[in-house]
């Protein structure tokens, strides 16, 4: 499969009063053409910073790309000037944000906000752009688009606004769509509709999607592959099946165990992951997850775990995969769903030594 986007060893920091916050600490992943990659993690794990860095939307200063490459169609976005980025943003990469209530300009007609993209990137005349904007509104399922195109965002409901945002993001047929928690601020019923719409449009347009979320439940029916982020790093990455049926990292176990599921008939409490993510001004020595990890070993407090490869597509960074590590049992909720996957190697292979 052809890689559309490849992020290599990305490091992003922010200069704050309290010191330098290392929000993203060496993240590598790729997105293939037409597929959906979900990035999952708690708030503060660096998933939003990663996605906004791809678009170069991080204000600099205080933000800074310390290291790494973002290869999009073979070109490194890190090296692009602001002027060059303007030709990529909105044209090749579209973006949807979390809060549809604040992401649209309240004093500009919705149609105009879609037309801006078309006029800028497709060289359309205002009249053409307006016609296309109406088509786009129809495409994202907004009834009476001829009327809606002349309305202001406050005349739209939350779900409608997110649909309008999707229309803005997809206006010039981007190759990649970055959706940063697009359903978090919406009602559950609306959430499902928006997800359906995104899947539907992806099928029609062949767009690749990076889907940022903290909700594993959403991931299962959206994504092809999943990357789990913790404290500025990807701790586990694999296909949806690998992450859901054969997770290896204790943090992924925690996330899965804390996910409610309808089919679980037992009255057991949902497991919560104790504690909160570390302060990234001073990232802890060793594995950042160790203080919250019930399976932590002494080495976890000393040395960062290397990256282990479990299959062609499945990676995890935990000492538990080391041959010398004791065999541990994942939590009950996770154990129940474990399946033997045929693509796995006999043994995890270390692919990257820790520094």
């Amino acid at each position: 499969m052809e890689k559309l986007l490849e992020v290599k060893n990305l490091e992003v920091s922010f200069q704050t009063y309290g010191g330098e916050v290392q929000a993203v600490r060496g993240v590598s992943f790729h997105v293939n053409k037409g597929e959906t990659l979900a990035i999952v993690g708690e708030s503060g794990s660096g998933k939003s910073v990663t996605s906004q860095t791809i678009m170069r939307l991080i204000p600099m200063p205080p933000g800074k790309i310390k290291n790494g490459q973002i290869l999009f169609n073979g070109e490194d976005l890190v090296k692009k000037t602001d002027k060059e980025m303007e030709q990529i943003r909105g044209k090749d990469i579209g973006m949807i944000f979390q809060d549809p209530m604040t992401s649209l300009n309240p004093t500009m007609k919705v149609g105009k906000q879609i037309m801006e993209v078309l006029i800028k990137h497709q060289n359309m005349s205002p009249a053409q752009a307006k016609e296309r904007a109406i088509e786009l509104l129809k495409l994202v399922g907004i009834p009476m688009p001829e009327k809606r195109v002349n309305q202001y965002p406050h005349e739209f409901s939350g779900g409608m606004r997110q649909r309008a945002m999707i229309a803005v993001a997809l206006a010039s047929n981007p190759k990649l769509l970055i959706a940063d928690e697009p359903t978090t601020a919406l009602d559950v019923t609306i959430q499902a509709q928006i997800l359906e719409l995104m899947k539907d449009l992806q099928k029609k347009m062949g767009t690749s999607i990076i889907f940022i979320t903290h909700d594993l439940g959403v991931v299962a029916n959206m994504a092809d592959r999943v990357a789990v982020m913790y404290a500025g790093k990807i701790v586990e990455m694999g296909t949806v099946d690998e992450i859901f049926y054969d997770p290896r990292h204790p943090y992924t176990w925690g996330l899965l165990a804390s996910m409610p599921s309808l089919d679980s008939d037992d009255k057991k409490e949902l497991a919560a992951i104790p504690g909160s993510p570390p302060d990234l001004t001073n990232p802890p020595k060793g594995d950042a997850f160790a203080p919250r990890n019930p399976y932590a070993m002494r080495i976890d407090f000393e040395q960062e775990p290397p990256l282990f490869k479990i299959s062609d597509t499945h990676y995890a960074a935990t000492w538990l995969l080391h041959p010398d590590a004791p065999k541990v049992e994942p939590p009950e909720a996770v154990k129940k769903r474990l399946r033997k996957l045929s693509s796995n190697y006999d043994k995890p292979i270390i692919v990257k030594e820790s520094e």
């Binding site: 678009m55 939307l57 602001d82 002027k83 980025m85 303007e86 030709q87 990529i88 943003r89 909105g90 044209k91 579209g94 973006m95 944000f97 809060d99 604040t102 992401s103 649209l104 300009n105 309240p106 004093t107 500009m108 906000q113 801006e116 993209v117 800028k120 990137h121 202001y152 406050h154 945002m165 803005v168 993001a169």
Partner: protein, 311 residues
């Protein structure tokens, strides 16, 4: 929209009624005022006053007569100068004051908005600091001191502008600048903070994500929204310009309504003070109403039915 304007109009009339009533009763209470009968007045003035106020009639009749006169745009005679009425003063002085005020308003809005935007776009850079130092100084210096200094340096010492009087356009520049200094500084601060707030909004990030250039984002998305608070400040601003004109007209010897008013204050020409105060109040309240209506037309979120932000 009509309901909103109607409601605003009602409040405006109530405020106006309050200030007319207050002036009337304060004047009655004033020692040495037209109603105290302490001083012997020249017969001609006494005749004028009697005609207008009916000094020998009971107070409630005087009061209702006064209200009726004002409603007919008649602000009464002078208490000190025979043959002069407040309407005469308004007719001769207000056009001058209006011209000066408008000139100052234009300077204040133009310069203030420009400075504020420059400061916000260069947040925490030297342009920002320079604009804000100017703005803080501008609001820290009382207008009569600023005006005297400008007059002393630019007119008396350097001779760039005429020192005083109201003869040509050149004569209007210095007073207009002096009158505009405080408001310019205030608008610059207001524009800057509102612009910074707008720039931190999510929809600015959306605009950036669309690939719009910095210029396009600033002009199409930021400035328009940032100017909304400035528009709503235009009401209080007109009040500031009117009261500021008292001082400025006095310093530059401009024959506007402001100098007439100040003169009537030093002369204790009570009936003129009363009439001019009521006139100014009407002008001010009308200005504020106009600004409110204009704001409602500019900001699509305001559904003017209840005057509340629509949601």
């Amino acid at each position: 929209m009509l309901r909103y304007i109607g409601r605003r109009l009602l409040y405006m009339l109530l405020s106006l009624f309050l200030i007319i009533t207050a002036t009337f009763f304060l004047m009655r209470a004033a020692p040495g005022g037209p109603f105290s009968g302490e001083k012997k007045l020249p017969p001609e003035i006494e005749k004028n006053l009697n005609e207008f106020y009916g000094l020998d009639r009971p107070w409630y009749e005087q009061y209702f007569d006064y209200l009726t006169s004002i409603a007919q745009w008649d602000f009464g005679p002078s208490f000190k100068y025979k043959g002069q009425t407040v309407n005469d003063l308004i007719n001769s002085g207000f056009p001058v004051s209006f011209f000066l005020g408008m000139e100052a308003l234009l300077i204040a809005v133009g310069m203030g908005v420009l400075l504020g935007i420059i400061a916000a776009l260069n947040h925490n850079k030297w342009q920002d600091y320079a604009a804000m130092i100017f703005a803080v100084l501008g609001i820290s210096v009382p207008s009569f001191i600023m005006a005297s200094l400008l007059q002393y340096v630019l007119a008396i010492k350097l001779g760039v502008f005429p020192v005083a009087r109201w003869e040509s356009f050149m004569h209007t520049i210095l007073p207009a600048i002096a009158l505009a200094t405080g408001p310019t500084a205030f608008i610059a601060r207001l524009t800057r903070s509102s612009m910074l707030e707008v720039l931190s909004n999510d929809y600015i990030r959306t605009a950036k994500a669309k690939g719009l250039s910095r210029m396009q984002i600033t002009v199409r998305h930021a400035i328009r929204n940032a100017l909304l608070p400035v528009v709503s400040y235009l009401g209080p601003l007109s009040a500031g310009v009117i009261t500021g004109s008292f001082v400025i007209e006095k310093i530059f010897g401009i024959p506007g309504l402001g100098s007439h008013f100040v003169l009537s204050i030093s002369n204790r020409d009570y009936t003129v003070i009363m009439g001019v105060t009521v006139f100014y109040s009407i002008i001010l309240l009308a200005a504020i109403l106009l600004v409110d209506i204009a704001y409602g037309l500019i900001d699509p979120r305001i559904k003017l039915a209840g005057g509340k932000k629509g949601e």
